[in-house]
Symmetry: C2
Subunit: 219 residues, 2 copies
């Protein structure tokens, strides 16, 4: 930390990773008409410690009130803001295979401000096909489209063999973030965020835990 700069406490990714789950529970409580909740009550609901809940929230300043607890609606709004859900983000999908099309058709992202703007593929058979009202574009149009349409996020639903090259092209044209479903590590320049969804890794973890349980219980 340089002398003279205002110290900004960095929030750990462990905390960030828990925020969406808090948001989900608070949204459900809100829908049920619950007005206030204590860290103790929430901890029982979510199966985490009340201490952790209070520590997590206090990373962002005091959201609660002593003797009362937390206002559900207010807390829900604030966590949404922290996660940037009060803004909209334009996104495109690269890769119009099964996964790419499935993600394009998944409507729920819209509700959180993630707007589906385009989808690309290098397979001429897929170009021109319709995914939720948007025609699949050829890869040649990728750069222009990203630059001209204020695209923040690119979803990579392509094989690992082309993912690194495509990510570089996106980076050079002002993308802010990559949601990476390709099974490869992307090394992006500073300031370009990467979030990986490695499905096969997740499945392997499941496999480990199945086998561990069977071994420990001699089945």
């Amino acid at each position: 930390m340089e002398v003279g700069t205002l110290e900004v406490k960095e929030i750990s990714q462990a905390v960030i990773g828990r925020l969406p789950r808090y948001l989900r529970y608070l949204g459900e409580l809100k829908d049920e008409g619950v007005e206030r909740i204590s860290s103790q009550e929430l901890s029982e609901l979510m199966q985490v410690t009340a201490s952790q809940i209070r520590q997590d929230f206090n990373n962002f300043g005091g959201f609660g009130q002593q003797g009362y607890g937390y206002n559900v609606e207010y807390l829900y709004q604030e966590i949404g803001k922290i996660l940037g859900l009060d803004r909209t983000h334009n996104f495109i999908i690269v890769g119009a295979g099964n996964l790419g099309r499935a993600l394009g058709n998944y409507m729920n992202f819209e509700r959180r401000g993630f707007l589906f703007r385009g989808i690309f593929d290098n397979n001429p058979q897929l170009v021109g096909q319709n995914v939720r009202g948007i025609q699949v574009m050829p890869m040649e149009q990728l750069e222009d489209f990203v630059r001209d349409n204020d695209i923040d996020i690119a979803v990579l639903a392509i094989p690992k063999s082309s993912a690194v090259e495509v990510a570089d092209r996106l980076a050079q044209n002002g993308i802010r973030a990559i949601w990476n479903f390709a099974h490869v590590d992307l090394h992006m320049p500073e300031g370009i965020q990467v979030e990986n969804v490695h499905l096969s890794d997740s499945l392997m973890k499941l496999s480990y835990n199945i086998n561990r349980y069977m071994t420990e219980n001699e089945m």
Copy 2:
């Protein structure tokens, strides 16, 4: 730990979570014909500390040799075994919507021993449709199918509203593990493994990091 029981050191999920990534790098090295690698070399490749690599591997016993390093092929095999990839696992998909069908068509799981055996949906329009050579079955057949076909893993690609009920039905019929894409927490009986893939949570983390970077750099 009870007196008299042989102490089995529990491997932390943090370690397990890193194994698939080791496996991926080792597989690539293997394909390139690399025979041996030191923790130092691997650490540079993977951008983690050599210390962590050695600690991780030593959770499972000594895979290396002083002065030599690790044999790539051997290490690859051993990590595969730890992850249970030397066995096969039959899986079904519940939910034949966009995501369910996409996962059914994803061939790469087969290579790791995960065998696609059935797919179910309660929408009569989808029942009978073909997903990679398998006809979508109605939900009424779920229980019988799971029991009769030695199904280990159920992939939940259904809305949260029905996920808990379906998970309970699966649990009662001998499923070992649930790969949960529904946006809800499942509380399963001990011995049934759950691995969540909450796509919207992942997207929110990405959103947080975009906004954090923009704020810190006053864009």
